[in-house]
Structures are given as C-alpha cells and as structure tokens.
C-alpha cells in the first residue's frame, strides 16, 4: 500500500526526522488559509500515488496566500497519470543548499533491509543508478540488530563532508530505519534530503510503501488507506480478501493462485482474446469468496464471459463449486460461465456442478478457447 506524501511525513515526524510543517487542503479556500498561517513562501503539492508530480505541474511555489489559492485551484482535480488530485499539501518553502537522496527498502537477493544513499538527490534516482552508479552507496542491515551506529555514520559520511552535517545525517538515518521498521514498510524514501544555508538537514519530500501483510497488526497505518485513489472494484476485492486487478478486455477470469491466474490471462491472449481482469481467489477458498469474486467480475459491463480455472491443492474444488451455485442464487448473471475444475475433491465438485446443469471442462486450453469463442461471438464488432 502506497502512502501519500503528507502521511509519510507524519510517520517521519513521529520518528523524529526533521520535516518542515505542512497541512492538507481539499479546497482552494483551505489552501489560502493555510498559506496565510505559514506567512511566507509556500509550496502547493498534489497528493497522488505516483512520481513525476513536478513535471506534470502538480507542484507549485506561491509567494502569497492568493497565489497559493490559484495554484490549488489549478492542481485540485488535475489528472496526473490517470489519477485525479483530491488533496494538496501546503508547506513552507525552504532555502536549499544541497539535495541528497536516502532510502531503505527490502533487498530480495540479500533478504535484508538495504539503505541506498546518494549525494545526488532531488532527481530521478533510477537515472543516477544507471548513469553514475558510483554516486549510489548501498548498505545492508541485519534486521536482528538494526542499523548499527557506525553504519549510520558511514551513510552520513557518504553524503556530507562537513562534520556537523554528518552528525545530523547519521541521526536521520537511524530515525529513517526506525520509521521503516515501525511502519512495516517495504520502502521509505527521502528525496530530497536537503541542507539549508543555516546548516540544517531536513526531509522535504517523503515516500513510504507499506507491506500489505503488515496491516493486520498496524491499524493506525491501515487507516491511511485512501480508497478514492484506486478503482472501486479493487477496493471491494481487497475487502473480500481477493487479489484483483482491472484490465481492458472482456474475458472475466477467476482463478486460484497467482501463477495460474497469470498463465490463464496469457492463454486468453494466446487464443486471440483479451482478459478483463486478474483475479486470484487465493488458498482455502470458501463459497463466500467465490460469490464476492463473481459480484466483482459481473460489475464490469465489458465482461462477456466468465472463465473459471481452478486447480485444487489447498483450495477444495467442492468449495468453489458450491460458491458458483450460491452466487447464481444471489446475483443475476447474464453472461455465460465456463468452468474448469480439477484437483482436490474434484469428484465431489464435478457432481455438484453437474447436478446444477453446468458443464465442466478438464483442460485449461479447452476452457480458455471456449471462453474466447463466446466473448468473440458476444462482441462481433471486435469491441
């Protein structure tokens, strides 16, 4: 789960990182009032879950409260990479001497948290990694001991030559690590980490992504979820314990297991169709999950056929079969359903479906071909 900048800054402030004050506005009036409160130069920043806000015109400097209001009027409602801006952060402008980069993330290869810092901040860090990899310092942390004091100092030395700045930066590194661990993050990033002419180190932008698996034990972080920033169907799917991603095609897919779900989408494409979604109903599926999955798939008007591909291991195929029957009772489904079920409790599942008048297929190729044929027949114009 990605957090907004203002939320990430709250977490950073809580960990003691020096972050300039800031307040969130949802209307131009509020933006103007906040700017008046700060009494001076302010920055109005779009709060959306994507990078490149500056380039898109979503970050603007205002010298007066009136100007802050104008910028907020422009930015609120703006579309940035398909996302509508609903909130702006209004924060005092800072005098910047230098800009650096600092981040902690989980490295898959070393299976440990890793710091990445660079004295070249404020720019696209991927570009730095590609063009000038030596400018990027990496450091692994043993999660059992945390960031050790000498490691924090090493990172600070990589960023600054001045002893006073190094001391401040070492503290920020420790605080950033604490923020990362305490939030259950997969990424905590400061870009840029600035120094001011007065010799202060400050974080003026913040990005935090949370590991979804941490949310059950961190209700205060889970409350940060901004459902307005994702498609309605994805919110509903998440609440039902399903993994769902909306796509552009017309073959609705309901599969157990992420790998098989991806392979099913690939096969739909292989046979000339287009998948309408990625949907993994997960392990231990109960009938209710299937009901919810069908509700979500059928809510998409583009869907012309529903394709089930279930290979039971931990999922009992009779649970899925019962779910399909149950769903048919609860919701009106006016598109054809084609089903492939095999694996654990397959005999019981096929019996249940046969009794209810469904035809079940035995191979993935057969069922996908059938689904693509039905979708094509329902949309002869190729729409």
């Amino acid at each position: 789960m990605d957090l907004h900048e203002y939320q990430a800054k709250e977490i950073f402030r809580g960990a003691g990182i020096p972050v300039p004050p800031g307040k969130v506005a949802t209307t131009p009036d509020e933006a103007e009032a906040i700017a008046r409160e700060f009494d001076g130069l302010v920055v109005v920043k779009a709060q959306v879950h994507t990078g490149g806000r500056g380039k898109a015109g979503g970050v603007k400097l205002a010298k007066t409260p009136e100007e802050a209001r104008e910028h907020a009027t422009d930015i609120l409602g703006m579309d940035i990479k398909g996302l509508t801006v609903e909130k702006v952060l209004v924060t005092p402008g800072e005098d910047i001497d230098t800009e650096a980069y600092a981040a902690v993330l989980v490295n898959r290869e070393t299976q440990a948290p890793m710091f990445m810092v660079s004295s070249e901040g404020g720019v696209d860090i991927e570009q730095v990694a590609e063009e000038n990899p030596d400018a990027l310092t990496k450091l692994h942390v043993d999660p059992r001991f945390g960031l050790l004091p000498h490691q924090a100092y090493e990172l600070a030395v990589a960023l600054y030559a001045d002893a006073k700045l190094q001391r401040q930066a070492a503290k920020v590194m420790s605080q950033l690590y604490d923020a990362f661990m305490n939030a259950g993050a997969s990424l905590a990033e400061i870009n840029p980490l600035i120094t001011t002419p007065e010799g202060e180190v400050k974080a003026i932008d913040a990005k935090v992504s949370i590991d979804d698996n941490e949310l059950f034990r961190r209700p205060e972080i889970a409350a940060y979820r901004d459902s307005s920033s994702e498609p309605d169907a994805e919110t509903k799917a998440r609440e039902a314990g399903l993994t769902f991603i909306k796509l552009d095609g017309n073959v609705g897919c309901c599969v157990n297991g992420a790998g098989l779900a991806m392979a099913t989408m690939d096969l739909v494409k292989f046979y000339g169709g287009e998948p309408a979604n990625f949907l993994d109903i997960g392990g231990s599926s109960n009938p209710e999950k299937v009901v919810n999955a069908l509700k979500i798939i059928t809510a998409d008007p583009a869907v012309k056929v529903i394709l089930f591909n279930i290979f039971g291991g931990i999922t009992r195929t009779d649970d899925v079969a019962n779910g399909i029957i149950e769903a048919m009772k609860q919701i009106d489904i006016d598109v054809p359903i084609v089903i492939r079920l095999t694996g654990t409790n397959e005999e019981i599942a096929l019996e249940i479906l046969k009794d209810a008048g469904f035809e079940a297929y035995s191979t993935m190729d057969e069922v996908v071909k059938k689904a693509v044929d039905l979708a094509t027949a329902a949309a002869p114009s190729g729409a």
Partner: protein, 295 residues
C-alpha cells in the same frame, strides 16, 4: 532417487489442529508420508487422528516434539502472524528442513526468520509455497498426490497451482517425476531456483528438469546462467505473466536493484539464450519434455 524428501522423511506438522493443517495432515498420511508429530501450543498431550485411526502425538513446543519423535522435516500451517516465529522455533529445535506453506507473512518478519534459520543451519522452503512431493515416497505440503507419478523429471516452480498444471500434464503423458518442488511466490524465499537446481544436478535419476517462473525479481535469470554452466540434462522453462500490467507489484525502488524490469519477455529470452527450451503455453511443457527425453 529424489531430492529433499524420501521414504526416510520423518515429518512434524506445526499447526496440526487448524483447518488447513488437519486437512492436509490427513492427505499427507494417506499419501504415505511418515507424520511423527504435531505441534499446537496448548494442545500438548492430545493426539491427532489420521486415516485408519492412526494417532499422531501433539506437543506444545517444537523442542518437545523433536526430543521425543526425532523429526527431520517440519511443515508449517500456522497463521501469518505467528508463522515466522514457528519457523525460528523449528530451526532452534534443530530441524534441518522447514517447509513454510503459510501465505501473507510480513516480509520484515521473514527477513529475521531467514537470517535466524541460516545461523541454525536449517533450510527453509517457502514461505507462501505448496511444498514438495517425491512421488511414491513422501509429500510435504499441499500438492495433490493424485496428479504425480514416479519417473525421471525434476520440477521446480515459484507457483502453486501452475505447478500442478505442469505436473498433471507430465503424468497424463506417462512421464513421471523425481521430486516436484514449489519454492514459493514471496519476495523473500529460503530456497531459490539455483538451490533446487544444484540438488537436481546431483540426483542421478533426474534426466530432465521443468522450471516454472514468473515476472518480478531476477531469480530466473540467475537460474538460467546456472543451467548453462552446470546442468547437463535438458531443461524446459515457462514464465507466467506475459500479459501482466507493469508496475502493479514491482516497487519503484525494486527496479533499481535488479537493473532490469523483470518482465516475462525478458526472462523467456534469458532462458533461450542459455539453452533452455521455452514453452509458450503450459500445455506445451509435456511435449517439450517428451522431445528432450526422446520418448
């Protein structure tokens, strides 16, 4: 022969009394796995009734289970909040091979658990994996026993159900398996493709290998290079996620480390460049293995 598990495997089930734990313990016992103990805190002294009325003793702790029943393998069906702790408990008790089925364990919990298990000298398979099966001998995890048969093909996969798909097809084509291993779909897994390939390399009965990967990370690329350097038997590969939209699961910062996007197309190309036969569809896997084995 086989890798990791065989007739000598003595299994302890952590979380034996839960819905999934009890269901799959029965399935494993029916398959012939030697389940010697179960662990559920608070239920020590009770016993689990398996198929045919066979009783499996339940212990409160792994330490007790290990002391009294000498297992050499553990399987974990514990809920996500407690699963990393269960892995460390098994490692601490001296279990050399720990199979973690649980899905949804926090990544930072696993960072600690992997480091801890490494220090104890234990190998972790998973988490978020279907486990493994050596046909005709032992199954640990949730792979359906009905779809496998003994034979010459080693199978290794990041996916659960997609593994069943491939294995089922081999079996339908009359081609059996030495061992089928699901390494798991989490970002931090204990046993990677190369670890399993290294085991297959030293298994004389494994005459061909099926490797099933997916988008994200660079384990497949690393595995492809390992195949070219060290594996003498034919390898057939499949990558899931050719139509997956970019940027949905891979973080901005993750792409920096890998230095590449980790797309299906890229992985398939690396497979081809390193002499691995690539299946376009899951249903092509059987045919490619047949060709490779000359049967």
């Amino acid at each position: 022969m086989s890798i990791f598990i065989d007739n000598d495997t003595r299994l302890v089930v952590q979380g034996i009394t839960g819905r999934d734990g009890s269901f799959h313990t029965t399935q494993m016992m029916e398959y012939g796995t030697n389940v010697v103990a179960g662990v559920t805190p608070g239920k020590g002294g009770q016993s689990f009734e398996g198929p045919g009325g066979r009783q499996v003793p339940i212990f409160d702790t792994m330490e007790q289970a290990v002391e009294q029943t000498s297992p050499n393998c553990s399987v974990i069906y514990v809920p996500p909040a407690f699963a990393a702790s269960a892995i460390m408990e098994a490692a601490d008790a001296g279990v050399p091979f720990i199979v973690a089925i649980t899905e949804g364990i926090p990544v930072l919990d696993m960072a600690r658990a992997h480091a801890y298990a490494d220090d104890c000298g234990s190998r972790v398979l998973g988490p978020n994996c279907p486990g493994l099966i050596t046909p005709g001998q032992s199954k640990v995890g949730i792979l359906p026993g009905s779809i496998v048969m003994p034979g010459p093909v080693g199978v290794v996969s990041r996916s659960g159900t997609l593994t069943y798909e491939a294995v089922y097809q081999l079996t339908q084509n009359g081609i059996g398996q030495t061992t089928c291993v699901g390494i798991g779909g989490d970002p931090l897994i204990g046993t990677k493709f190369v670890d399993v390939l290294e085991k297959f390399r030293h298994d004389a009965d494994t005459k061909a290998i099926v490797m099933i990967g997916e988008i994200g990370g660079t384990d497949e690329q690393e595995a492809a290079e390992f195949v070219k350097e060290h594996i003498d038997v034919p390898v057939v590969g499949f990558i899931a996620g050719q139509t997956a939209p970019p940027g949905r699961t891979m973080g901005h910062a993750g792409a920096i480390i890998s230095g590449a996007a980790g797309t299906a197309a890229e992985k398939m190309q690396v497979f081809r460049d390193n002499g691995i036969a690539v299946a376009e569809r899951p249903s092509d896997i059987g045919g490619l293995i047949k060709d490779a084995l000359g049967v």
